[in-house]
């Protein structure tokens, strides 16, 4: 086997492993979230399918895949059918630029611990998250239902508002690392993780990312008590499952992004890099579940006000201060 074919085979194996692990993590995250929510609310949570309910995600997947694929009357057929794939697809693609380990060597072949080290990796993430808006907006519009349309309009407005704060919070990170590449950003945190230098940016990024993925307390686009289920009200079967999958994959990728941008990526003492990466991802995911069990839903006008009048000005101020300090230290 020549070096070139070996490289291709190793790449394909790595892609397969990353994809399978990501999907399994997302599926089991649903189980973990339901069990943890049950624990936090003094009830049991799913515990019937298999020991401790461990087969629940597989049962759910079988149920979703075998359910009727329903298209409402008056729906825009093609857009209705493909919108969910946009949400799940963009969520999965984000993981492509996130470094998850130091990398290995196999028979003289370098296997980097990242699927693709783009020199614009950080912008790639922002671009994909802005494409995710289409999945929500088009899905809600194509359903031909009032609830779905209202949810989609709210979702689109919320996501484009918080995208600004999301991007601005990452500017200081780029300034410190002097690169858009996530591998370089992790490299720049060899001595100090950026959460110590940029606690404010970390907070802004975390809050706007939670708003971007529409989780409690920002789940106004799918507010159950007024909009049934918001933009995915009319979806059934695996197409609903794709929206669901997109949400949970986003939880994993948010953990991975926070690890790469602020927590030092796969770096850590004693334990192997891959394990550190998973530990950091799990801490973030646990925090997300904890927040869901604790906080009530925000009111819509407060949500917009918070995004535009607090997060964005604070993020801009943070950029100016960071730039000033960096200039002063260089002299």
């Amino acid at each position: 086997m020549s070096a070139w074919t070996l490289g291709i085979v190793l790449l394909l194996i790595k892609l397969l492993v990353v994809l399978v692990v990501l999907l399994l993590l997302a599926a089991y995250l649903i189980y973990v979230e339901r069990r943890l929510l049950g624990f936090m609310q003094l009830r049991l949570g799913p515990n019937r399918a298999g020991p401790q309910g461990l087969l629940q995600p597989i049962a759910d997947a079988v149920k979703l895949l075998t359910k009727e694929d329903f298209i409402p009357a008056g729906a825009d057929r093609v857009i209705f059918l493909y919108a969910p794939a946009l949400v799940a697809g963009t969520a999965l693609l984000i993981f492509a630029v996130i470094p998850f380990a130091r990398g290995w060597t196999f028979r003289g072949q370098e296997i980097p611990g990242v699927v693709s080290d783009l020199n614009v990796g950080l912008l790639f993430i922002l671009a994909l998250s802005s494409i995710g808006v289409y999945g929500v907006a088009l899905g809600g519009w194509a359903s031909n239902s009032k609830f779905a349309l209202l949810g989609a309009i709210r979702g689109a407005a919320q996501m484009i508002s918080y995208e600004l704060a999301l991007g601005l919070a990452l500017v200081p990170v780029v300034m410190l690392a002097r690169s858009f590449s996530l591998v370089d950003i992790v490299q720049a945190q060899a001595r100090l993780p950026f959460i110590i230098l940029q606690p404010l940016a970390f907070m802004i990024f975390f809050i706007s990312a939670v708003a971007e993925m529409k989780r409690i307390p920002f789940d106004i686009p799918e507010a159950e008590n007024e909009l049934v289920a918001g933009y995915h009200t009319e979806y059934s079967g695996m197409r609903f499952g794709l929206y669901f999958l997109g949400e949970y994959v986003t939880m994993v990728t948010l953990g991975a992004m926070l690890a790469a941008f602020f927590l030092g990526g796969w770096r850590g003492p004693l334990l192997p890099p891959l394990l550190w990466f998973f530990i950091k991802v799990f801490i973030v995911v646990f925090a997300l579940i904890w927040i869901r069990a604790t906080l009530p839903r925000l009111r819509y006008d407060r949500l917009m006000e918070f995004g535009w009048k607090i997060l964005i000005p604070v993020a801009l101020l943070n950029i100016i201060i960071t730039g000033g300090v960096m200039l002063a230290l260089r002299r």
């Binding site: 614009v120 912008l123 790639f124 922002l126 907006a137 519009w141 349309l149 689109a156 484009i160 858009f180």
Partner: protein, 165 residues
């Protein structure tokens, strides 16, 4: 024809087809989706030509921000597909035709005289760092003027859209 050329013509075909579909659809939502597709094609073309930074900006700004606003407005207004007769008036299509012919002529001249061989910008200038240097060190003054112009437009829009009283 090497692999890059094949990809180039494929992308060019996608962009042209998507744009043509975008301007002929009667359903506004479909037109928007096709236009987004055309922006994607353009972004990939930038990537192919060695400008990943420009490619990502194309997606973030055009597909991710501007077209989402269009989508938003169309959703809010709930515009029904127009059933107007398909006749086009001279006043409407003449300017478009003149501009189109001019564009074709320029493209023809560019291809015939092979101006592409003496590139005004070396390809290395397309990396994010070089791009930033180029824009904010060499051409900072034009960038400031453009941003001032945009600011004036923003204030103007705010003034026009204000509520009476």
């Amino acid at each position: 024809m090497n692999l890059y050329a094949v990809i180039f013509y494929l992308l060019a075909f996608i962009i042209l087809a998507a744009t043509a579909l975008a301007i002929t659809r009667r359903n506004l939502m479909h037109a928007i989706v096709y236009l987004v597709l055309s922006f994607f094609g353009t972004a990939l073309l930038f990537y192919l030509l060695g400008a990943p930074f420009l490619a990502v900006l194309e997606v973030i700004i055009y597909a991710g921000a501007i077209m989402v606003l269009f989508l938003f407005i169309v959703m809010m207004l709930e515009i029904k597909p127009a059933d107007t007769p398909r006749r086009l008036y001279l006043r409407q299509w003449l300017p478009a035709a003149v501009l189109g012919v001019l564009c074709l002529a320029v493209a023809f001249v560019l291809i015939v005289f092979k101006t592409g061989e003496s590139l005004p910008l070396p390809l290395a200038a397309a990396s994010p760092l070089e791009f930033g240097r180029f824009l904010f060190q060499k051409y900072w003054f034009s960038v400031e003027i453009v941003s001032f112009l945009l600011f004036a437009a923003l204030v103007g829009a705010l003034y026009l859209g204000r509520r009476e009283g």
